[in-house]
Amino acid sequence: MKNSYRLYILILIVIILSGCKKDDEPPENQIQINITNGVIIVNEGLFPTGSGTLSLYNRLSGETNHKIYQQANNGKLLGNIVQSVNVFNNKVFIIVNNADKIEVAESTTMKAIATIKNIPYPRYMLEIDSIKAYITCWDNTVKVIDTESYDIIKSIPVGTGPEKLLKTGNKVFVLNQGGFDIDSTITVIDTESDEVIETIQVFPKPTGITTDKNNHIWVLCSGRGWNGIQLQDDSEGHLICLNPADYSILHDIEFPSKKEHPVKLVAGKDRDNLYYYYTGGLYRFNIDSINISTEPFIKRNMYYGLGFDRVNDLIYISDPVDYVQEGWVLRYTETGTAVDSFKVGIIPGEFYFMPKLY
């Protein structure tokens, strides 16, 4: 019996003292990142603890590189939530909204150059000229920044929760989506003077904006409310066509249901077909018709980001699955045929197609 005690204590002590040693993490493969002819997928990342990531899809090889920013910068995280990117002047501007910052990286290597801090809840960025850029911010302003010095030149007050912006001529149209609140206006800013020149009253929650072949502007107003729940003051969505010269509403197409809200808006190859999400999937709207379709063009239950690649004329749909795992990108032709799908990062929200074609 005594021997068994001895063995016992020995085993005990060995177990206690041996502990566990942490393995050193293997160094991440340094790959050559070349975004000049790829598609950047902006993955928002886990909310609120995670970090967003960028995936890069290579059209030629069909391969996807994950976490390209981390790879190029020794694992450095971007932060939470990565909302959008813009590429110009050989720089990638990565907008990290919940971290109040914009990370700037070299466009050829993705190496970090700078961090623009203290931008209040930035959403989208648009280049105005070789130096100047506009950023929509949830403190209800558009910040004008110098992309060389990274200084804020000016802060232009706009409506509530400004989101997407679009430039045509020397005018920028800012969609005041309302944030967690509600707004139903578009602010027009003159790019020479950086002054507000008009506030256009539209319908609640303008979320999508694009131009058509006639150089008219189409705006998708989602309507008051949220998809998935029904509240008493829900209102129907509207797809409207604006004349950018005199801001007159040329067309106003009302959606049939107050319960469902259309979201996202992109224009197809010839800018005569518009695509947006609505009940049960992706819908197509031809600008020469007056009616909206009652059946989805591509049926899908889960969708989030929407893009149109003008290099090979494909529709990009993202599937965030359950927002707590890696999402997917699905590609379709303009005839509605599925091309392929590939896995990306967590909550793929936006696409950025290189090179930039209008």
Partner: protein, 632 residues
């Protein structure tokens, strides 16, 4: 080299007379025999001994459990929210009981263990596994039982302690216990003030100090018991606590200035009547929690203020009766009224619960076995809760080997938030239902406990939780709780507790290892890759070990814990690295006349491990604490 040294050391140890001493838990006669002790046949119960509780007085319950057991504590940082993940389940599946009263607030059904001071209790027990048949709703992973057991030996004890630690961490505690044989009174006070501005590495790989993590806490607990002619025991307990905390965000967010105030009032009265063949207990309790969260964001739409008030009234009557040599019967009825008021609900949420339960314990003294059957039916808000039966048996198998088995059905009803959070709450949610099975083998060497005592326990458990509730997006805008997952949680727990004496040194060596596999068995959509994957924030491997030596008023204790990788995404594509934490405690008690002064020094996270228990929420590296305790 090390091995030979160990053999030498162990030989040396065994050459000595191993004696039972202070390291052992004194098994005092408990006037408060409870269902936890008597009718949990087949389940694993773990109790912290008085020395462990005394050494860790300064810690919260979260700190006590995370250092002393392999149970995973999800901590958002020093002084921040800490919840428990027990046997591969979530915090809503573990009931926290104070003198038999469930503390979990009805809005979230999870208790913040960082707010509960360990020094407030003289008995902390952990019941592993499903105990819905005994305690009702929400005990699928396990349950934790906090008590102050009255001691009617004539005595007076007064102690006062102060401590100071790294990151401007200061605390003070005082306790007074008194008994004249008829009355017993226990008073406990705590005060805690901490800045928690520990250094950590930010996303830019630079060291900076944690901001907005300060904490102020104070509380009092008062127990009064009266024993009349050894037949009636009356008791009343009161517990008030206030905490004002800053709530730091994750490293990936901008740092904001959120704060949270938690105020709670808990009161309890009980009466126990001892009869010839059993006892009768009646008790009633009132629980009040007041939470005020405020995030003063400069951006108006992001400014969040939420006030949550919960009130609970509960009463219970139970009878315990020894029928004969073989049978002990137990039965009772429990009523509970829960109410929660918050602007997040359209109207106040209310739940009335009635629980009826009965137990039969069958003793087989001739072969040293016992078995019990427990049945419980709850009825809440005009609907029947799932019926929860259980069966357990335990006893001697062979010489020093004994065994336990238990099988039970358990449930968790949806929380108020899951049901009523406007407009996302889902009123159609069904309760989660589980079947739990477990078996243990215990190898106990206590033939000569004066020399050597050892307990080696190996437990296997298996449970299947159906209707598992998850918040998942319905659309990009709207997340809703749904009965969407089916979870299969199973695992193995191995633990060893050994106590022996080397010369005049009392030694305690213990370790516990847990393998916990908890997987999702339901697919949510075509691209869902979560099927058969480990649940998020459930480590597969965890370990804790302790070596403690007591000699002439000196206590030396070293604790080592290991927490394995935890996935943070449902498809297991991202995980948090494993971490190893070592803690060292040294204390010396000086006897001066009838008074005692205890001086204690602690080094926490001695190997300076950089780790996150929750993704991107930094935890402190190596830090120190110094305590002085006067026992008068």
């Amino acid at each position: 080299m090390l091995i030979t040294g160990l053999i030498f050391l162990s030989t040396l140890m065994l050459a000595q007379n191993v004696l039972n001493d202070t390291v052992y838990e004194l098994s005092q006669v408990r006037i408060t025999s409870s269902r936890l002790n008597n009718f949990s046949t087949g389940l694993k119960i773990q109790k912290f001994d008085s020395l462990t509780l005394d050494l860790n007085k300064d810690l919260s319950l979260a700190g006590l459990i995370s250092t002393q057991t392999p149970i995973y504590i999800k901590s958002y940082g020093q002084g921040s929210l800490a919840t428990i993940s027990f046997r591969g389940t979530s915090a809503t599946h573990t009931g926290i009981y104070w003198n038999g009263i469930r503390l979990n607030p009805p809005n979230i059904e999870m208790e913040d263990l960082s707010l509960i001071p360990s020094s407030f209790f003289n008995s902390v027990g952990i019941l592993h596994g499903g105990s819905g048949s005994l305690f009702g709703n929400g005990n699928i992973g396990g349950s934790i039982h906090l008590r102050n057991e009255p001691d009617f030996r004539k005595d007076k004890k007064f102690n006062i302690g102060i401590s100071a630690g790294s990151f401007q961490n200061y605390s003070a505690s005082a306790g007074y216990e008194f008994s004249d044989g008829k009355w017993w009174s226990g008073t406990r006070l705590i005060y805690h003030n901490a800045k928690n501005d520990f250094p950590y590495t930010n996303l830019e790989d630079k060291t900076e100090k944690r901001q907005n993590a300060a904490l102020l806490q104070y509380g009092i607990m008062q127990d009064v018991y009266r024993l009349i002619k050894n037949r009636h025991l009356f008791g009343a307990s009161f517990w008030y606590q206030f905490t004002d905390r800053q709530i730091p965000g994750s490293l990936t967010e901008k740092q904001d200035d959120a704060t949270q105030k938690d105020e709670s009032v808990r009161a309890l009265v009980k009466w126990k009547k001892f009869q010839k063949k059993g006892y009768l207990t009646a008790k009633a309790a009132f629980l009040h929690n007041d939470l005020h969260y405020f995030n003063p964001d400069t951006i108006t739409v992001l400014m969040i203020e939420n006030k949550i008030k919960t009130n609970t009234l509960t009463g219970e009557v139970l009878i315990n009766h020894k029928l004969n040599r073989r049978f002990i019967l137990n039965g009772g009825i429990n009523y509970r009224y829960d109410k929660c008021k918050t602007i997040a609900y359209k109207e106040d949420a209310v739940r009335n619960t009635i629980g009826i339960y009965t137990s039969v314990l069958y003793l087989l003294p001739s072969i040293n076995w016992k078995a019990d059957v427990n049945l419980r039916q709850e009825f809440y808000n005009n609907s029947w809760a799932p019926f929860t039966p259980s069966f357990g048996a335990e006893g001697k198998i062979w010489k020093f080997v004994s065994g336990k088995i238990n099988i039970s059905r358990n449930f968790r009803s949806p929380t108020f938030n899951e049901l009523y959070w406007y407009p996302l709450g889902n009123k159609d949610l069904k309760p989660e239902i589980s079947w739990n099975e477990e078996a243990s083998l215990i190898f106990r060497l206590d033939k000569n406990p004066d020399k050597f005592y050892s307990d080696f326990i190996i437990t296997g458990y298996n449970s299947l939780i159906d209707n598992y509730i998850l918040w998942l997006p319905v659309t990009a805008d709207v997340w809703m709780p749904k009965n969407i997952q089916k979870v299969w949680a199973r695992g193995i727990e191995i633990e060893e507790n050994a106590k022996f004496k080397v010369k005049k040194v009392n030694c305690k060596i213990s370790f516990a290892y847990t393998y916990s596999r908890s997987t999702n068995r339901e697919k949510t959509g075509e691209n869902d890759r979560s099927y058969n994957k480990q649940l998020i924030y459930v480590p597969e491997h965890s370990f804790s070990g302790q070596a403690m030596f007591v000699f002439r008023g000196f206590v030396f204790s070293y604790l080592q814990s290991f927490t394995g990788e935890r996935y943070v995404t449902r498809d297991c594509s991202e995980f948090l690295p494993a971490y190893n934490i070592g803690d060292l405690q040294l204390s010396k008690t000086f006897d001066i006349k009838m008074k005692k002064i205890k001086v204690q020094f602690e080094i926490h996270n001695i190997w300076d491990e950089e780790y996150h228990a929750i993704q991107n929420f930094p935890m402190p590296g190596r830090y120190f604490r110094f305590l002085i305790n006067f026992i008068l």
